[in-house]
């Protein structure tokens, strides 16, 4: 279980903003929070492992209308750390 949260900063373009928020809300593993300001969206991402978490970070960053994505919080539990370590081992070994 990986739970992280981002602050997604949006452009000033209203149409783009609405499209981004709609796209974020369409992803089941995302929870989009209330918008305290029109240009910044808090998002919680809940996924099974760290790789998925990073995938979604990249996905959000690529959305038209997104200026930047800042990381606010990251948490993982014990099982995920094991997974990370195994994946790490496989990658490092294949690379060396």
């Amino acid at each position: 279980m990986w739970i992280s949260s981002f602050v997604v900063t949006l452009t000033e373009d209203i149409a783009h903003r609405e499209a981004v928020i709609e796209a974020l809300r369409s992803i089941p593993s995302f929870t989009v929070g209330d918008l305290p300001t029109p240009s910044r969206v808090p998002v919680v991402v809940e996924v099974d492992d760290s790789q998925q978490s990073r995938f979604w970070y990249d996905w959000v960053e690529q959305l038209p209308g997104v200026v930047k994505v800042d990381v606010a919080f990251v948490s993982c539990d014990e099982n995920d750390r094991e997974t990370m370590s195994l994946a790490d081992a496989a990658e490092v070994e294949s690379a060396r």
Binding site: M1, I3, S4, S5, F6, V7, T9, E12, T31, G33, D34, L35, P36, T37, S39, R40, V41, P42, V43, V44, E46, S50, Q51, S53, R54, Y57, D58, V67, K68, V69, D70, V71, A72, F73, V74, S75, C76, D77, E78, R81, M84, S85, A87, D88, A89, E91, V92, A95, R96
Partner: protein, 812 residues
């Protein structure tokens, strides 16, 4: 506990973490970087808004990556890092982290961490005890102390660098110590010293919150210092006008946000700066009042030297005369219109202009000169000394300022900006170190390029280096021209390379002895960031296996040398050089690992170092003040009420306690001893190697967002590795068509120093101009520095990684 209760507990925990994550993000989204929400340095760490998660304890630490100095809060459970969040009380990042900070907790857990000392026997690295490893090093040094060198790092903590510096300069009477920061910011050091007589920026990141114009001189700010870039982006989103000028040799993510993208020819920054200065004079738009009160003029002299010679204003004007807009346009490739934008900005006294730079100006064979020139256009135009109005260098490593520039781990330096070639400075250091007069060698040691040249040539040469101890860096990948400066070691079996590190690297491949080190929150630490901010953290988790602190390694070797009879390992009173006593006055055996671990040696070493910082008015805060704060910017001075006050801006009355009353503005370490800074003329000088018929491309190297320098840590984080799995050569679409190269094709990249087969990326993440190539240096399987040039600035000795001539052919 039955299955149902376990499931319920997990669900509860998940819901709790979800709510926590949302609360943190919502709060940050509401505040952003808005100044009115800014906490202060005196806000106690962890005092509010810290996530409360069962069984998780939190503590503060600066991020391990880059020189920005963001603070993170690290959550630990059962001896492991389980959560990371931005530190909302930290002024630098105000709770936000970039993607590297996101993964900062994972860098400890690569499966191939070095966990035991390894000694090369019959060509193979084999495990040995710490005792044997320490013996091997001590005997090696004892045999020829003058042929020993330490190669350190801007990732050393302040106490680590201080211990190494004292060991070699105060113990071995040998100044052959230099850090990898020589390769990234030495030109900024010489630039500051030759402009206002003392190193490091007078200003701070607050400028980003106040400037009207931000000029990036060869600096991919968005990717290299993303959190600082966020401060500017946030201001623009709040409706504030900040004009962003990207003066660059290739389009990057920074360019996407820029109002003016100015693609210049490599090295032409010098001509552009001289052109701006000339135009200020032609328009009579220079700040006569500021210049007359606070500046002198200076030229390089014949031959050119670091401190040059005084020139008159008329001479200065005459030297600039040839830098007409037309001449500058021809050299730089910028249009007259683009140059006009720069001229107009600097000529407008109502604007507040911040200039930023990093490797683009520092890794430059005229690095000192271009630093001088950018300071000069700000001084001449009067864009200096107000919030948001001044030039500021950035660093790439977390303690390049703290450990290298302040602790003086450069070959010519002593702590506190003192110098080994100054008798008075040596006397100060010898007294503070309690070593006999004359212990410190007056001759500067070898700078990085020379040190490795001496190591990679035969031992029969006089002045050679036979043994190098590398700590916290990876020169096998990061030195320029590595065939010459590193790989050649393999041809000299009499040479001995010791490497203290956390993972196997290109450097450990050739090492004779590898020592496993503790990293980041596995030890106590103190860093100093780009804006003079000193930051402290506590050990939070144990290092793996037998990994141990670098400072302990240095002290243990020093003690073994003392046992072997090296006289330099005793102080003037016959005690151990690193003597420490307990409360009763009895000697603490800190060379013993168990004692070291139970003693806060960081605090002791730091407090021993702290008096040095008074001599150039760089007073760092007491250790216990740092414990309470989120970093404090020096000089930190004690107020009448006993509180400690940091300094945001130096040399300005009301901000800097050392400015004399009614002076208003005072460069009190002035080169000319008259409280004035120097406006330099430095002529444009062509690069030492330029494209020609045989090697027709410019080759530029650098970093990418996902990876920290040589990738030793970040390439072991699967997410980062997946996001940026390997190095590539960025090539323009025009060149790709001409060479019939597509993205993913293998191409052979060659320079006069070597060649490399590498994957092409047409247009890449950024976008090169035709005739230009870019390769990142993070990938140890694609050692691009075998191709780069070791030519360096004559004063800073910093090599130029940003421009050399290359050839590209398609591999069929």
């Amino acid at each position: 506990m039955n299955d149902n209760s376990l499931t319920n507990q997990q669900t509860d925990r998940r819901g709790f973490l979800r709510a926590t994550a949302m609360a943190v993000a919502t709060s940050l989204a509401a505040n952003g970087f808005a100044e009115e929400k800014t906490p202060t340095s005196s806000t106690p760490p962890g005092g509010f808004d810290l996530p409360v998660i069962p069984d998780v304890t939190w503590d503060k630490a600066p991020c391990r990556f880059c020189g920005t100095g963001c603070h993170v809060m690290v959550g630990v459970k059962d001896g492991r890092i389980v959560a990371v969040t931005g530190d909302r009380q930290a002024e630098v990042n105000k709770g936000l982290l970039c993607v590297k900070g996101y993964h900062t907790g994972l860098i400890l857990y690569g499966n191939d961490r070095l966990k035991t000392p390894l000694l090369r026997k019959n060509g193979k690295l084999e495990p040995v005890s710490w005792d044997e490893a320490i013996n091997v090093i001590a005997k090696r040094i004892h045999g020829a102390p003058e042929r020993f060198a330490i190669y350190g790092s801007g990732q050393w903590t302040i106490p680590e660098g201080y211990a190494a510096n004292k060991f070699i300069k105060g113990g071995l009477s040998n100044n052959h110590i230099d850090p990898n920061a020589r390769l990234c910011m030495a030109s900024a050091v010489t630039g500051y010293i030759s402009t206002y007589g003392v190193d490091e920026p007078y200003n701070c990141y607050d400028d980003l919150d106040h400037c009207d114009v931000l000029i990036l001189w060869g600096n991919n700010f968005a990717e290299m210092h993303p959190v600082l870039f966020s401060r500017v982006v946030d201001r623009r989103l709040r409706g504030e006008k900040v004009v962003l000028v990207d003066l660059t040799t290739r389009r990057t993510r920074t360019s996407q946000q820029a109002d003016h993208v100015m693609i210049m020819q490599p090295q032409s920054d010098m001509a552009i700066a001289n052109g701006i200065a000339r135009e200020l004079l032609v328009r009579d738009a220079w700040s006569k009042d500021f210049v007359n009160k606070h500046c002198n003029f200076r030229g390089p002299g014949q031959p050119a030297t670091l401190m040059g010679e005084a020139i008159s204003f008329e001479q200065y004007r005459a030297e600039l005369d040839e830098y007409t807009p037309e001449m500058v346009s021809k050299l730089s490739g910028l249009s007259l219109k683009q140059l006009g934008v720069l001229f107009d900005l600097f000529a407008n006294p109502k604007l507040k202009i911040t200039s930023l730079w990093c490797m683009g100006m520092n890794q430059h064979t005229q690095g000192t000169a271009i630093n001088n020139l950018v300071h000069g256009v700000h001084l001449l135009s009067g864009h200096w000394g107000k919030k948001g109005d001044g030039p500021q260098s950035l660093t790439g490593q977390p303690s390049a300022c703290g450990t290298v520039r302040e602790v003086g781990t450069l070959a010519h330096a002593l702590p506190g900006d003192l110098r080994v070639d100054d008798a008075r400075h040596r006397e100060i250091a010898e007294k503070l170190w309690h070593v006999p007069a004359g212990r410190i060698n007056p001759k500067p040691g070898y700078h990085t390029v020379l040190m490795w040249e001496k190591f990679c040539t035969s031992s029969t040469e006089p002045g050679g280096i036979d043994t190098i101890w590398v700590q916290v860096t990876n020169p096998g990948q990061s030195l320029p021209n590595t065939h010459k400066l590193f790989d050649a070691k393999a041809q000299h079996p009499e040479k001995f390379l010791i490497v203290s590190d956390v993972y196997p690297t290109a450097t450990t491949e050739l090492a004779d002895l590898v020592l496993p080190s503790a990293m980041w929150v596995e030890k106590n630490g103190v860093y100093g960031n780009s804006e003079r901010r000193t930051q402290q953290w506590n050990r939070m988790v144990d290092p793996p296996g037998e990994a141990r602190d670098d400072a302990w390694q240095t002290i243990a070797v020093a003690h073994r040398l003392m046992e072997l009879g090296h006289p330099g390992m005793n102080d003037g009173e016959g005690r151990f050089l690193f003597h420490q006593a307990d409360a009763s006055g009895s000697e603490l055996p800190i060379w013993d690992w168990a004692t070291y671990r139970t003693t806060n040696m960081d605090e002791r070493l730091y407090e021993e170092y702290r008096p040095f910082t008074a001599f150039k008015h760089k007073q760092v805060a007491p250790y216990q003040e740092l414990v309470k704060a989120h970093g404090l910017r020096w000089p930190v001075v004690q107020s009448a009420d006993g509180t400690w006050k940091e300094t945001r801006y130096r040399f300005i009355e009301g901000e800097d306690s050392f400015v004399e009353p009614r002076k208003g503005f005072q460069f009190y370490h002035s080169v000319t001893k008259d409280d004035k800074a120097l406006i330099w003329f430095r002529p444009y000088v062509a690069p030492p190697e330029m494209p020609d018929a045989e090697y027709p491309y410019w080759l530029d190297t650098g970093r990418v967002l996902e990876h920290w320098h040589t990738g030793t840590m970040t390439m072991r984080v699967p997410q980062l590795r997946r996001a940026m799995p390997g190095a590539y050569v960025e090539i323009s679409r025009e060149d790709a068509v001409r060479l019939d190269v597509k993205t993913g094709d293998n191409v052979k990249l060659a320079t006069r120093r070597g060649e490399l087969v590498i994957t092409a990326w047409v247009d890449g993440r950024a976008s090169c101009s035709p005739g230009h190539l870019f390769v990142p240096f993070f990938d140890e399987r694609k050692l691009i520095n075998r191709l780069t040039l070791d030519a360096h600035c004559p004063f800073s000795k910093e090599p130029d990684y940003k421009k050399c001539a290359a050839r590209l052919t398609k591999v069929t």
